[in-house]
Symmetry: C2
């Protein structure tokens, strides 16, 4: 394939991708597929029997299209579509596993739209210049084996192979990742390594999982990277005493101080264009009529820029200490203290500019400029790991009400079709640019 691509001449099967999404939901569908298909959830935990079913189907479908199948040591499946030239494959990837109470789109859309790309190439007798690898990454959700994006992490050599294979499941009787992989027949021989089994690049179509595109009436999000984030365990130490006998001005109430710190953290992050979430909170001694002496809560703070995140955290810590030390009016009250314990810090991810430009070019072939926007991913994706090793970017479509990880997760058939069309053009534009 050389010269300008005549996209208008490519015939696509409108509606087939959506149909495939709903058909494959039978491997994990909680409801009955049919009438209210888009309202029913999918539970397809990594390396479960249902995961085996969808993998077997995926291997058969891609093989039937002429793909070569490579399965690596952590069960990542690379379905490689043939090409004119030899060379590293252009990657399209996402995941087919879900949360226990997941939907039909998160991850699944990325793999099945890749399949639709391959089907479209085949039907139109388009032979790309370079191979196209459609990748199903294992255990992206980290729901059954509690480490998100672990298999793309091993491929990127950011997570040791042994760590991944030794992961224990959250089942009542925990199972080992490596053993479950063998049990379902997906313990491959191909090294799980970007060096031994390389890709030229990685593109991923995904639902936004947030409300921005929907609210702004955008059709396509051109994803430019991932936010930086930092998790801390925050502990406030006060003094416990009797709810009935302790005057207000002599209290060192750890929950009152924690409440002030929570509101301050939220305000600080929002004012600086960041995000702050307190997702867990526990207190002691936890008795109706006893003033809490210890409150522990997690603080998740995010920002597009590393420096801004760092600035927010510095401000939050400084103000929290001030609040703890001076929040009590009376000299009878003992000052409180607050401690921040870093759980994890993740740097901002910047996707490859050429990849971003390719997605934008593809999107602009289909939509007006005001129908697309650049966006930063708030959630983690396999693309975050691939981006550390190969040129990567992502395409987002709107998520109804910004919901994901729930059976209510929904993107309309039109939105799904839009995403597929952008992915198809992105892959072909990229392939063409590589040739040129």
């Amino acid at each position: 394939m050389t010269g300008a691509i005549d996209f208008e001449s490519i015939k696509t099967q409108k509606g087939r991708l959506v149909q495939t999404i709903h058909e494959t939901a039978k491997w994990g569908a909680k409801g009955v597929w049919g009438k209210e298909a888009s309202q029913t959830g999918v539970c397809r935990l990594a390396l479960s029997d249902l995961d085996k079913c969808v993998r077997d189907w995926f291997v058969k479908e891609t093989s039937d299209l002429g793909c070569t199948i490579k399965i690596d040591q952590v069960g990542n499946i690379f379905a490689i579509y043939p090409s004119k030239n030899k060379g590293l494959p252009t990657g399209i990837g996402s995941h087919l596993d879900t949360q226990p109470s997941g939907g039909r789109y998160d991850g699944i859309l990325g793999v099945l739209s890749g399949l639709e790309v391959l089907r479209t190439l085949k039907e139109n007798n388009i032979v790309p210049n370079f191979p196209i690898a459609l990748v199903n990454w294992t255990n992206e959700e980290g729901a059954r084996f509690p480490m998100s994006m672990v298999a793309s992490g091993v491929w990127a050599e950011k997570i040791p192979l042994e760590t991944c294979l030794a992961l224990k499941s959250i089942d009542d009787t925990p199972k080992v990742f490596g053993e479950e992989l063998s049990r379902i027949g997906y313990a491959g021989k191909v090294p799980a390594s970007y060096q031994s089994n390389p890709l030229a690049c990685h593109f991923e179509l995904h639902i936004e999982q947030g409300p921005v595109l929907e609210q702004e009436g955008k059709k396509i999000g051109v994803v430019v990277g991932g936010q930086a984030f930092e998790w801390n365990m925050v502990t406030v130490f006060g003094r416990s005493s009797h709810a009935g006998t302790t005057p207000m001005n002599t209290r060192s109430d750890a929950l009152v101080t924690a409440s002030k710190i929570i509101l301050m953290a939220i305000e600080t992050a929002e004012r600086s264009g960041g995000l702050a979430t307190i997702g867990t909170l526990n207190l002691e001694p936890s008795s109706v009529n006893v003033i809490p002496n210890i409150v522990k809560f997690t603080l998740d703070v995010r920002h597009v820029e590393d420096e801004a995140l760092s600035g927010i955290m510095t401000e939050i810590k400084s103000k929290a200490t001030h609040i703890a030390n001076t929040g009590i009016g009376s000299t009878f009250a003992k000052p409180l203290t607050v401690d921040f314990h870093n759980i994890t810090t993740s740097k901002a991810i910047k996707f490859n500019q050429n990849n971003i430009d390719t997605v934008k070019k593809a999107a602009l072939q289909l939509f007006n400029e005001n129908e697309i926007r650049e966006i930063v991913s708030g959630a983690g994706h396999d693309s975050c790991f691939t981006s550390t090793r190969v040129p990567t970017s992502m395409i987002f479509i709107p998520s109804k009400d910004g919901l994901s990880h729930t059976p209510e997760e929904y993107s309309s058939p039109e939105e799904v079709e839009n995403g597929f069309q952008v992915l198809l053009r992105t892959v072909l534009l990229y392939d063409q640019a590589r040739e040129e």
Copy 2:
């Protein structure tokens, strides 16, 4: 005994009461009695073997002083000291049971100082006009059988006998109150009833369990009643979503709204001279990177006056609803809701004025007016139940740092002696007034 009492001629054994407090701590002392006696805790749960030991000792000591022993159906022990005249006994009562991690003074002081009163009468050959009943009320703490002041409640006919006898303990293998009572030999035949086994009045010496007397440098608290209080379970309903993908202005974060409500409730109660405590808080789904959609917390609000408490609660509920409905700036965010579920409401308790005046008169014989103060009890006591049936009042001595229900609970030997002296005079003044 007629005419004015010559208190100066009464010989008391200074130090004996404190010694008795520490000696009896062996039945439940966690540390080694001796050097650091006042720093060691007591664990003497109701109807345990240790409770039996201290009860046996109490019965022997009071019998040796000439008391008649009556044990009622819920194990309350009435040790009745003989008198010149027949008539209802003047009651002195408190409890010998403790919290699992209790101290040496809460409750114990009240019973042992009553014993010291009887010993003093005996040694001084003082025969009161009317009998004096020293009462050890069962399971005041509600620590082992989870209903505080249950046995004085049965006596006051405010709690059914059957309810008390059927209480199940919090032991790993739960035991039944009635069976444990029989096991330790304290299932008496005397009806547990203020009508069948009446008292003329009830006086109780107790540690304050709060910091007011200590902070104000007062020696004696003349207790005029108990606070009104109301407990609610407050639930905030928001919307759960992803911490990384949900912009701040589209969130319906139940914990942020709960934090605002908590601070508002604290401020509202304090401004109105009341108390507010949030002792327990739980949230869902409780995941680091998921915005909480449900937060439940208990709200304990207290005030000396019923009407003021009611006013505070009305204001808190109204403002909480306003905060939930309008706390979110963006039109994209769903308004939150808040629900108050009343757990219990307890009316303010006003002690008997004549009893209060008697305590004050006794205290003023020993201290200057600026060394005593009227005070409202923040905690519940057996006197709260007796006050519903017979003239009641209480005497407080300072608690170091306001602490109770902890091994660090402490009142100095001098403070203990002060309390005993006021109790002794109160009982004799009351006895004299009855004769007159």
